[in-house]
Symmetry: C2
Subunit: 229 residues, 2 copies
Amino acid sequence: MSRREYNQYCAAARALDVLGERWTLLLIRELLIGPRRYTDLLKALPGIGTNLLANRLKGLEAAGVVQRSELPPPAASSVYELTERGSELEESIVALARWGLPLLEERRPNDAWEPEWSILAMRATFRPEAAKGVHEEYEFEVGGKVFFAAVNDGDVSTGPGAAKSPAVTLRADIETFLAVANGSMPMQAAIESGRYVVDGDEAAFERCLRIFSLPERIRPKLYSKSCPT
Amino acid sequence: MSRREYNQYCAAARALDVLGERWTLLLIRELLIGPRRYTDLLKALPGIGTNLLANRLKGLEAAGVVQRSELPPPAASSVYELTERGSELEESIVALARWGLPLLEERRPNDAWEPEWSILAMRATFRPEAAKGVHEEYEFEVGGKVFFAAVNDGDVSTGPGAAKSPAVTLRADIETFLAVANGSMPMQAAIESGRYVVDGDEAAFERCLRIFSLPERIRPKLYSKSCPT
DNA sequence: CGGAATCCTCTTCGATACTG
DNA sequence: CAGTATCGAAGAGGATTCCG
């Protein structure tokens, strides 16, 4: 019952033997954000089908990429999480995401979106050259979910939860957050409409925007769609 | 007739909508080495099946990742090559390959291997910290195929063909080259057996080995297999 | 011979239903 | 909540044929 393999003595092919099936890399993306229960994963991956999820988890567990762990008694439930080896996939997934950014354009009617996905997206849009000498944290609250980005010179770490001491806090509803993020709504307009709220140091806010801006080449596409003149 | 898509407003998911099908990333790996004719691709991807290859190429062409171009009259034939956008996948594929290196272990009986694959493999095993201050080229000839690596401080470029002015030239048959590369045969033994020939500056040779060595953590696995004592 | 289109079988996917 | 069982639909893989 061996999984289909490529039979090539090539590191990329061997990686794809483990990761190349449908859903697998998205499942790992989900676990990169943090440990998740089975049903959380089902919800975060609409369309996966419960048998496939179970198969993938089993395969990844056998491959040493994922492990189960039991939560302590009060919350008697088990979660899936990445092993250390699994966490090393972050680099690959962020690289893929970076390549995929120009494909994002506007959100389509059936597109799912979870605020947590920003946590990885920000690592993909992070521009080290704009972050030289910057040491500060930003906090976000989108659709009720809180996450942070901690910039440290040319480096960034992001995650769920609050920042320790944010220089700025940004709050928005999902639609407004996405419209600003993908460039189809100017930040200025969003703030004036009251649907985007910024608290904290103004200069830090400007830095935050520069550090996590989308690559320039995809902005024109977006603007030309939403502002056809 | 729409391809299966994930319907997630997420850069990684969008990238996988284009790249996630079976064979696609390996096909791109092949084109990263250089332009290829249809039949070259069939040979380099054993098992793909001609209809799948045609489908994948069509899909990637539609996605702007691959383009066809006609060679000038003498060699009246057409080749497939990556567009600029397609070439930007190098980072993602090298990241995947780097993650897959520990899975390589020994070559299995049915594993295909092409000398050209070293061209990408060397970008995956390249260790920038070992290449600080180094500016020189290495040339390789394996199974009759020639390729080079040009190290430039913390940077490397690799490709098919001869180096301009190699500091060292390494020559070996396929089996010996692989055995040394994956650590199951000591370089010393290979040279002494006469199946591995090194020409040029001795110090440069040592640097070359350090710069492109496999990560330490996978070496013990290999040695314990081949030297069970 | 290079570059596919067609046909046929087998596997995998995806959705729903069902179970501890 | 966390999966297993089932089954039609889509995709993969191999062989063969077709066209220039």
